[in-house]
Amino acid sequence: MTKSAIKRLFSGPFLAFILCGTLVPLVVIAFYGFTDRSGAFTLDNIMAIAGGHHAQALGLSLALALISTLICLLLAFPLGLILKDSKIGKKGFMVFVFILPMWMNFLLRTMAWQVLLEKNGIINIALKSLGLPLLDIINTPAAVVLGMVYDYLPFMVLPIYNALIKIDHSLIEAAYDLGAGKGLVLRKVLIPLSVPGIVSGITMVFVPSLTTFAISTMLGGGKVNLIGNIIEQEFTVSSNWNLGAGLSLVMMIFIVISMALIEKFDREGEGSMI
């Protein structure tokens, strides 16, 4: 056996893990998705997505995921710009402060919003004592969006900041020297050059928002049914694996489509992927 053949053997355990932990499970979920309880081939589990409350849940999930991704982007980009311009000595600390919550368990962070938003929660007590109208968004889609934005905002901030910080400062100065105003520099230099960061931020917020079931359970109080909740219930409550697997496959299709769209958009917009 040659030396490099021996070396290649080292990836054996890895191959075993991708086989048993990634590839075989994908085959299993696909098998269940395309068969019925007796094991006969069927497309019913896939087509079930078109049925009333499934389609509604998928639509709601897509809408909420889009809204929260957009809000995260709108909050994170200015933040990234400000952090990029902050003084060198302070920079590390500032970024640290904005990323820190990411390291705390997201269920605890979601629970915090539950406590704040309750009908008799902290926010409403404060509003009542000020004589202001009460905030009644717990158990509504608005609360779920709030939870998503809160939980996933750092995932948007970090890649955007990393992309902005890599931009060569002389490019920005050159644009100013050539007479560009602030808006033009933003449109023609800063945004195009940070597209890779924006794209990875979008995927890191959109995919978990689209597929979550914990946030919608905790802040939606069982009244906001996302596609994640429906799939989870098929496995834990109704134990209809075939339907759950079929709906999961549909959800995967949406993830793949959104990634393809993002990639395409990224390539058209400047092709600045490095």
């Binding site: 590839l23 499970p25 909050l75 820190l100 705390m104 915090a112 309750e118």
Partner: protein, 265 residues
């Protein structure tokens, strides 16, 4: 407006923006911290300072068991993933470009796929194979989703490696194993360490995959929190989140200081 006053106005606007986002990020966490010291069970009234929720938390067997499971699973998953990932990088660096690209592509699947799909598919595979869900199945799933992080941190270091130094060591009579540990290992060590730490954090933070691959008997902190929050408000969880926040803060500050000192040297 003069140029100077415009500049102060813009600095003020930036400061305000940063403050608002900081409030948004930290007010919820600080609210939990304050409530964790509240004597009463209701959160709407402050009934006096007390440490009873902390005592209850440390006395709770379920919480302590879940904490133990979280930490041991994270440690073993990160260790196993680091070893498997490192071996995989050694193996892949000897492969043809095409097979390496295919493997790297498959390696990305768990990263890109939704956690819920990963969790469900692994759970179904276990049950189809007749393996009952327990601590071991959770550990296996965690190793599976940690390996990609290790490979993504270690592989770039392998690409930067100077292959001549390793060959020179062999020519000078070092055995391959000795040469690997003396010559290659020091260069890839930063990647190995960050792969381990990344895996550890990902494992501690995971909820979805654990939720599906654990049996009825075992809990990690994430799954315990989820099941308790669904039932109702638990002040012991406020205490727990305060402890976790302070721990995370301390660890990250120490890591930051250490890495800053290293850079200065």
């Amino acid at each position: 407006m003069t140029k100077k006053s415009r500049r102060t106005a813009s600095a003020f606007g930036k400061g305000l923006y940063l403050t608002l986002i900081l409030l948004f990020l930290y007010l919820p966490i600080f609210t939990l911290m304050v409530l964790s010291f509240n004597d009463g069970k209701t959160m709407s009234r402050w009934t006096g300072f007390s440490l009873r929720w902390y005592e209850e938390m440390f006395a709770s067997r379920t919480i302590m068991e879940a904490l133990g499971n979280t930490l041991t699973i994270a440690f073993w998953a990160a260790t196993a993933a680091t070893v498997v990932g490192l071996l995989a990088c050694i193996g892949m660096s000897a492969m043809k470009d095409r097979s390496r690209l295919v493997l790297m592509g498959i390696n990305n699947i768990p990263l890109l796929n939704a956690d819920i799909v990963t969790g469900i598919s692994i759970m179904m595979t276990f049950i189809v194979c007749g393996i009952s869900l327990n601590y071991g199945t959770v550990l296996f799933s965690h190793i599976t989703f940690c390996i990609p992080y290790v490979i993504l941190s270690v592989m770039p270091k392998f690409k930067q490696l100077e292959s001549h130094t390793y060959e020179a060591a062999l020519d000078l009579g070092a055995s391959p194993v000795y040469a690997f540990f003396k010559v290659v290992m020091p260069d890839i060590m930063p990647g190995v360490v960050s792969g381990f730490l990344l895996s550890f954090t990902m494992s501690v933070d995971d909820f979805v995959i654990t939720h599906f691959t654990r049996g009825a008997g075992i809990n990690t902190l994430s799954t315990l929190i989820y099941s308790q929050v669904k039932v109702g408000i638990r002040p012991t969880l406020y205490a727990l989140s305060t402890v976790i926040f302070v721990l995370v803060l301390v660890v990250l500050v120490i890591v930051n200081i250490l890495s800053n000192r290293k850079e200065e040297n």
